[in-house]
Symmetry: C2
Subunit: 492 residues, 2 copies
């Protein structure tokens, strides 16, 4: 290690130590902290965040990174420098004053939204959202000028390094044209099948036991992580200690189970990141889309497959004293319904929710869509994509998500990028390992994890997304694998 590189290496290691506590503070807040701790925690988190921000924007960093880049360092160190530079410039781009204004507006908007959404109060919500969107637009413009790209691309860059609107349009084009017809076909096909919903009362303690069993089957290492309960499931943690949460619903074990499996996918990616690069920017997950690809690989590609459901059928029946057949489980876990709510959507209709939001975000950022016209825009697009109306029902329309209330625009595409990536990974994996269903029914599920570990997880951010996809699957991300998968599973 050169002296120049060593100094940077140690600085980013120190940053990761403070991030460690940021992470712990968030987890504790959502799982353990009594109400009385809110004020103290939020003050302490603010000081910690601003300390981390200061460390990422220290004067000497950019020059030092540039100088280190001139040295003839090993490729992996070069990659680490690129990621350091990304962190530094991302942190330096937006003036602290704007960050503070946005945080304040977002906090107020989100807080009011919790009631306004319940009351379908668009008139009350619109002015708050307008304020937040204006600040997000300002942020996008500042980022765009600094990076020499368009404002919306500058937002995408936060979550998906290298991604652009044009690339997304290309990737999403087949979905736009084919999905509405495909959904109709699937719905028609499933209309002829028996009703298979898994109704009943499901003891939450039994659900927890089942969750832990399934996590163990998915090779989650409880010596390096935890499962807890929170009102919204999430995963977080630090190397060696990755924690996920779930929630249990007495009336519906299946959504909790699938959400646990989803978070387990996120967690295993984190548990599998390269240990040699712990605490370094190159040792982190590649992008939000890549992260989502791992959770969706677990939840969609694996968990709803016949092979996997065959593995957990006994555990499910044992947990609740039922006798579901494999056929029943398969039907239930692959049921397709057009609905208004994104987070409740199945994998076939889900991309429609994203297409709508992607189009809305672009237009909100370039100014061609005003917040006041959002309900109409939403209704028109829902009609077109899913044949559903949100007229007068904004709480289940443009008011349903938390993202925009927080000023987080540019994130939604990552969900569908994740689904596409997961599908492409599955086909590449099957070329090498053969049918995953067969692998699983032959007790060789670990080979799947080994493949992910060797081809995705252990690469961290040591290569770009395109390089990672090419090295793992033989080609850069392509939109068609998701459609192929959907047709195969739902029409095959």
């Amino acid at each position: 290690m050169s002296a120049q590189y060593r100094k940077l290496h140690d600085h980013f290691k120190r940053i990761s130590h403070f991030e460690h506590f940021n992470n712990l503070g968030e987890w504790d807040l959502c799982t353990m902290m009594p109400d009385g701790g809110s004020e103290g925690r939020s003050e302490a988190m603010a000081t910690l965040s601003s300390h981390i921000h200061e460390m990422r924007t220290e004067d000497w960093l950019s020059d030092s990174i540039q100088q280190a880049m001139q040295e003839s360092l090993p490729a992996a160190q070069q990659a680490n420098l690129v990621e350091m530079q990304r962190q530094v410039s991302q942190a330096s781009l937006v003036p602290a004053k704007l960050v503070a204004a946005k945080t304040k507006a977002a906090f107020a908007c989100e807080h009011a939204w919790r009631e306004q959404r319940k009351n379908n109060d668009w008139q009350g919500f619109a002015p708050n959202l307008t304020g937040v969107i204006e600040l997000a637009r300002e942020e996008a413009q500042i980022r765009a000028e600094a990076l020499g790209i368009t404002p919306y691309d500058a937002l995408l860059e936060k979550f998906e390094p290298g991604m652009t609107t044009d690339k997304l349009e290309q990737l999403f084009a087949p979905l736009r044209s084919e999905l509405p017809g495909l959904i109709q076909q699937v719905v028609d096909k499933q209309a002829g099948e028996p009703n298979t919903s898994l109704t009943g009362k499901f003891d939450t303690a039994a659900q927890e036991v089942l969750s832990r069993k399934v996590m163990a089957l998915l090779d989650f290492d409880f010596n390096q992580g935890r499962l807890d309960v929170s009102s919204h499931p999430f995963s977080c943690g630090v190397p060696g200690d990755i924690r996920i949460t779930t929630r249990f619903d007495e009336d519906d074990f299946s959504s909790s189970l699938m959400s646990t499996i989803h978070e387990t996918g996120h967690a295993r990616y984190e548990q599998g990141l390269p240990t040699d690069w712990q605490g370094q920017p190159a040792g982190m997950a590649r992008s939000m889309g890549m992260h989502e690809s791992q959770s969706l690989f677990y939840e969609m590609q694996l968990a709803r497959s016949e092979g996997f459901l065959g593995l957990i059928r006994n555990d499910i029946n044992q947990a609740f004293g039922n006798d579901y057949s494999l056929e029943q489980l398969k039907h239930s876990f692959t049921r397709v319904n057009r609905g208004l709510i994104r987070v409740d959507a199945d994998e076939v209709t889900y991309p429609c929710h994203i297409l709508l939001r992607f189009d809305a975000e672009k237009a909100l950022i370039d100014g061609s869509l005003a917040v006041k016209d959002l309900p109409e825009f939403w209704n028109a697009n829902m009609q077109q994509l899913l044949g559903l109306s949100t007229q007068g029902n904004d709480k289940d329309g443009c008011m349903q998500d938390i993202h925009w209330t927080l000023g987080e625009l540019g994130y939604f595409p990552s969900y569908t990028l994740g689904a596409m990536t997961a599908a492409q990974i599955r086909y590449a994996m099957e070329k090498q390992l053969g049918s995953l269903d067969k692998l699983m029914s032959n007790g060789r599920i670990k080979e799947i994890f080994n493949w992910l570990s060797a081809n995705i997880w252990c690469k961290g951010s040591l290569m770009s997304t395109d390089e990672l996809m090419t090295s793992a699957t033989g080609e850069v991300l392509k939109g068609e694998y998701l459609l192929t998968h959907l047709k195969q599973r739902y029409l095959g």
Copy 2:
């Protein structure tokens, strides 16, 4: 607030935000963290600690505090400046190199001790302990020179600002002379009483329910704190979020219950610290002895009294389906036994364990006792104080405590200072409120907490220990109240 004072105020507030995470990291480590998290946590804690240390030793601080002290500030702000100065000089006294050497030696010593103690391996332990004690002596000398006091007094100063060996000798003198005889009298008296031990199997879930009930009776605010399980009970936390831990033993509910009550006392002190001074040095607990006085007030003065046991008898019987009489509970919770182990000792014999350690520490620090002679010293003093031998049984003698393995000398006296303080507080309180037993049986237990809150907790470190004791009890700490209490309870 003057500008000078404001700057200091904000700096110490920021320090408290980082301490917040130090605290959370420790709690999580003892209660929640999976094994895999150890390495990452200890690295992150080390970075955080050194950051806090840097903040406490920034160049400008001492001058700035001195200048602020020249301003005509309100008395409370002056008190805060005094506490700031104490923190700054305590942090600056010891060179970082010595701190690091001591941490390393302590870690190795304590780690090996866990096995060595089990194996009664004094020969293996002695060289490690010698290394740690040498570094502790070096630390004491450096502190002593800087403060112009003796080395052992300089160690006391860390835990008990203003306390000296001479004062301790005076306070402890009556115990030294009277306790051995008193213990004999109590043991003789109790020999004639029926055996009252509360034996059986006690469901741990029922123990937890009981713990929470008793904590609620003690006015612990679960909206501002938690109860969890850890291998060694402790209390910690930040304003608004004070957490205690306990452990449950199927064969013995009473020690777990008493330890929960003890930690509840610590917690209520923390919950009661002055809210206006949160995050400021003057807003913290006065000293370790004062902290221990609150836990011992709860555990000894309150919880083993007839009034309190009367309040919880039904809960105990309900929890385990027993039918203990009040007499039985009282006998059992005030049983006196001479034993070798400090942490298992009752309140009558406990001070003997402290006297022995106090004498040993002084001699280890002034060099008149060598580590190699410690077993002999221990045996001789145990013979004299409690009539017990530790010959050839070092694991239950000089190897039983963790404190010295960690290089922590000067702490032991705080336990008995706490017991003395608790007794003195009780007599002062009874002068104003009448018999506590009567208060409790009349459903007026809250008046006890109100008294503590108004006279102790809400004072934080706004006055010195002597001032605090005088304002609360009418006089500085006196040794005799503890003896009076013991005689009254055990011979009365």
